[in-house]
Symmetry: C2
Subunit: 252 residues, 2 copies
């Protein structure tokens, strides 16, 4: 039984601050979980520096490949905020003042404080549709299958809430996690057999070492609840066969 | 003045668990900082799923482009550990038992417990050199400019310590961070002028919103201490000109 075609997404994180180690990325796990809820699988993440050519290359590679592309970072008012210029270049369009974005910023800052730097945040590639930013006002936007969002996690999250209704997902991915106090090396063979029997369920094994105990968390993911439950039963049976007690950790 | 040629690196994270949002990546910030200390700039990170074709594609794109490539994840004994098969395929060589790795695992598990699954961890692409794993023994390895490491952060970190002496870096990147309680939109213009005057210093601006205060952290990075100090002085001067007091946050 083949898995149904999944709707896919990619995240491009534009950020020297992640590549320097200064900032820990918080956007990947948030977006991954939210997209899962929408029935969209995050299939790739790329972190690229604030360099136009690299952003353009990553955008063009990923927007051809995935149903949705999200970018985070680089949409503020300073010289290192080059996302919109880069997105426009990737799409071969101009980076222009979006009248609606200009109006939002004019109201927020007052026209006298809407200086040249802040006006950068009113620019979008021609043809873009705005994504509301309820926190700091400067909007994100969508152009074709690419959503351009802020890098600051709270703002990114608020923007995601603003755009979520525009996403069209497939069946949501469900998951079971079962913990076993068994080393991976003992369970690997039987687990491989279960994986072979359930090609439509993705089975991952993640070792842990806690308080002197060697074990593994077995994560089963799939869209068909019945198949997922069947695979989970087999995994529990395998763990018992090997003399341990399966612990159901989480189920989503 | 052009910046000296930097030694570059890329990290490929092989991990469905990161893409599903289950696990937060801890390896990027660690590796980024350690590589910085070695005078190597992390220029890209890719997170790819446990799918051979995707791993092969990412490896071949990145090993041609960067001086060093690091991979994390997928080197355990279970069916989803396909990194070595994928690396071998990317290099067009066989994935074979490495005698030294086999000896290490035989000693660790005892020959009777070195089953087929665990023997997977003794495989490396032909021609690879081992990287010691002082924690759980199953080694990482190097093949040409690619270092293959474990995904579990503690083990990855120990492996990095084992391989660090093999890396040849350039001049180390130093950084100053200066905080200003000024909105980015006010400092952007002057900051852009300073960036223009110091093309060899990378100036990033990161807004913050804390306890009702809107400000930004200005991160200056470069290899020439004199130039870095000059740019930092100009940034402090700019902040004072705009009526705020610069706060030196960190210096490395």
């Amino acid at each position: 039984m083949a898995a149904p075609k999944r709707v896919t997404a990619c995240l491009i994180i534009i950020g020297n601050e992640i590549l320097s180690g200064r900032t820990e990325d918080k956007n990947t796990p948030y977006l991954a979980k939210k997209l899962n809820e929408c029935g969209i699988g995050l299939r790739e993440v790329r972190v690229v520096p604030d360099v136009e050519e690299e952003i353009v290359d990553a955008l063009n590679a990923c927007r051809a490949r995935y149903d949705y592309v999200f970018t985070t970072g680089g949409i503020g008012p300073t010289h290192d905020d080059i996302t919109s210029d880069s997105v426009a270049k990737a799409f071969g369009v101009k980076n222009v003042i979006h009248p609606e974005a200009r109006a939002i910023l004019g109201e927020h800052y007052g026209d006298q404080d809407l200086n040249e730097a802040r006006l950068r945040m009113a620019h979008t590639p021609e043809g873009a549709e705005l994504v509301e930013n309820p926190i700091s006002k400067a909007p994100g936007y969508r152009i074709e299958n690419v959503f351009v969002l802020a890098g600051v996690p709270l703002i990114m999250q608020a923007m995601f809430d603003s755009l979520r209704h525009r996403l069209v997902g497939g069946p949501p991915m469900r998951s079971h996690t079962i913990r076993a106090e068994l080393p991976e090396g003992k369970i690997a063979k039987g687990l491989g057999r279960i994986q072979d029997a359930y090609a439509d369920v993705e089975i991952g094994s993640y070792p842990f070492f806690r308080a002197g105990i060697v074990g593994c968390s077995l994560v089963l993911r799939g869209t068909d609840e019945g198949r997922l439950a069947g695979a989970a039963d087999d995994v529990r049976g395998l763990i018992r066969e090997l003399g341990a007690e399966p612990v159901d950790e989480t189920e989503t």
